[in-house]
C-alpha cells in the first residue's frame, strides 16, 4: 500500500499545496487537519473572541486555498504565507469595524470587547489567570499583542512572525520584549508564586 498511496502525513505543506492545485482532496484534508485548529484559535484571539466570526474566517481562508491555490508561492513557506493572509484578513476586518463604528457613533454592538459566551478562555479550567491574561493582552496595543499571540499562542518563530507581519526581526524582538514586560508586570500581583 505504501507504494500506491503517498504519505500525506510526511509530506511538507508546500508539497501538499502543489497536490491541492491538482485537485487532490486528501492533500487538502491533510492541510486542513494541520492548520484549521490553529487558525481558528488565531482568529478567535484576533477577532474579539467572536467564535462565529472566527469560524467564518477559517472557512474563507480555506476556500481561498481551494479556489485559488496559485496565490501561494511555493518558494515561500506555507505557514508564514497562511498566517500573513490571516493577518491581512483581520486587518481588513478592523477597518470594516472602524467604519461601522464611525457610522453608528460609537454604538457599535458588533464590536464586543469580551464575548463571554464565546470566550474560549472561559471554557478551560483555572479561568482566573486566563481572564486576567486576556485582559492584559487586550490592554496592549495591536502591534504588540499580535506579535505576542503569534509567538506564544500560534508557536511561530521570530523570523516567521517577521515574514507574516512584513517587519524586521529586530522590530519583532523589541515588540515582543515590550509585550512580555508589560504582561509580566500586570500578572505579577495575580500569580501566587510572584507574591512570595
Amino acid at each position: 500500500m505504501r507504494l500506491i498511496k503517498p504519505q500525506y502525513k510526511s509530506m511538507s505543506d508546500e508539497d501538499l499545496m502543489i497536490s491541492i492545485s491538482k485537485g487532490d482532496k486528501r492533500a487538502f484534508d491533510e492541510i486542513y487537519a494541520r492548520y484549521a485548529s490553529a487558525l481558528l484559535g488565531y482568529f478567535i484571539r484576533m477577532l474579539w473572541k467572536d467564535r462565529e466570526k472566527a469560524e467564518d474566517f477559517v472557512h474563507d481562508i480555506f476556500a481561498k486555498i481551494i479556489k485559488r491555490p496559485e496565490l501561494f508561492d511555493p518558494s515561500r513557506r506555507f505557514k508564514t504565507w497562511v498566517y500573513s493572509v490571516a493577518n491581512n484578513m483581520c486587518k481588513n476586518e478592523y477597518k470594516k469595524q472602524e467604519v461601522r463604528k464611525n457610522i453608528s457613533n460609537g454604538l457599535d454592538s458588533s464590536y464586543p470587547v469580551s464575548d463571554e459566551g464565546a470566550n474560549v478562555m472561559n471554557e478551560v479550567q483555572d479561568g482566573q489567570f486566563r481572564e486576567r491574561f486576556e485582559m492584559s493582552l487586550d490592554d496592549l496595543d495591536l502591534k504588540h499583542s499580535e506579535v505576542f499571540k503569534l509567538r506564544h499562542l500560534n508557536g511561530l518563530s521570530i523570523k516567521e512572525i517577521a515574514e507574516v507581519l512584513e517587519i524586521s526581526d529586530g522590530t519583532v524582538k523589541s515588540r515582543l520584549f515590550y509585550a512580555t514586560k508589560y504582561l509580566a508586570k500586570s500578572l505579577k500581583d495575580f500569580n501566587p508564586i510572584m507574591n512570595r
Binding site: G23, R26, Y32, V58, A63
Partner: protein, 230 residues
C-alpha cells in the same frame, strides 16, 4: 532554530544564565525573582495556548468539502492520482522515477528477446545444415560406390565372354585373359594415378579411357600408321 530570549527564560534557571544572557534579559528582568516570575508567566501562557486549541465545526469542513468537489469536478480519483504520484514522483530526478525505470527495463527486454530468438534459430539451422551435409556426404559416398560398381560391372562383360561362341586357340585365350587382367590393372592404377595427380579429385581434360594392351600382330593397321608417320 535560533533560541530567542523567551526560550532562554523557559528552559534555563537564573543561576545558569551567562553574562550575555543576563545583559539581554536586563530589559525585562533584573533579579532572580523577576526572572522566576517571568518564567511562570510563560509557563502559564503555554498552558493557555494548549487549552485554547479549539476545533472548527464539522459544518465548516463539510462546506469546504463540497466547495472542493465543485471546484475540481474532473479531478482524477484518489487511487489514480496517488498511484501516479508514486510512479512519477515530482521531487525525484527523471532517472530515479519508477515509471522511467520500468520503461527502461521493458525496452531492454523488448530489444533483447529478438536476438535471443535469432541465436536459437541459428543454432537449429546449423544443426540442420550439419545433418544435411552429413547425409549428402553419405549419399555421395554411396553414389561413388555405385559408380565404381557400375564401372566394374561395365568392364565385366569382357570377362563374361562365352568361350563356346568362339573357337579360339588356347594360346589366344591365354593372351586375351592376360590382356584383360592387364587392362583391369591399368585401369586401377590409372585411377589411382589420376587421383594422385589431382588430389582435389577434379580431373581435367579428356576422360581417361580404358586401354587394352592388344598385341600388334592382331592389329596390322597400327603398323600401317607407324609406317605412314615415318
Amino acid at each position: 532554530m535560533v533560541k530567542d530570549i523567551i526560550d532562554i527564560v523557559r528552559e534555563k534557571e537564573f543561576k545558569s544564565l551567562s553574562v550575555e544572557e543576563k545583559v539581554e534579559l536586563s530589559d525585562i528582568c533584573t533579579n532572580e525573582d523577576e526572572f522566576n516570575n517571568l518564567k511562570q508567566v510563560f509557563l502559564d501562557v503555554d498552558g493557555v495556548a494548549m487549552a485554547s486549541r479549539v476545533l472548527p465545526k464539522k459544518e465548516t469542513k463539510k462546506e469546504l468539502d463540497e466547495l472542493f468537489v465543485s471546484t475540481y469536478p474532473k479531478a482524477t480519483g484518489v487511487w489514480y492520482s496517488s498511484m501516479l504520484a508514486s510512479i512519477v514522483p515530482k521531487n525525484k530526478p527523471l532517472h530515479r522515477q519508477p515509471l522511467v525505470q520500468i520503461a527502461a527495463v521493458g525496452l531492454l527486454v523488448f530489444l533483447t528477446i529478438p536476438f535471443l530468438n535469432n541465436t536459437s534459430i541459428d543454432s537449429s539451422e546449423k544443426q540442420l545444415v550439419a545433418s544435411d551435409e552429413h547425409k549428402t556426404e553419405e549419399i555421395a559416398d554411396e553414389n561413388n560406390l555405385d559408380l565404381l560398381e557400375e564401372e566394374v560391372s561395365s568392364t565385366s562383360p569382357v570377362l563374361d565372354l562365352d568361350v563356346n561362341e568362339f573357337e579360339l586357340v588356347d594360346s589366344d585365350v591365354q593372351d586375351v585373359e592376360n590382356g584383360l587382367s592387364h587392362a583391369v590393372l591399368a585401369n586401377a592404377t590409372g585411377a589411382t594415378r589420376g587421383e594422385d595427380d589431382h588430389p582435389d579429385g577434379i580431373f581435367e581434360g579428356e576422360e581417361v579411357g580404358v586401354s587394352y594392351s592388344i598385341p600388334t600382330s592382331e592389329q596390322p593397321e597400327l603398323l600401317d600408321l607407324l609406317t605412314t608417320t615415318f
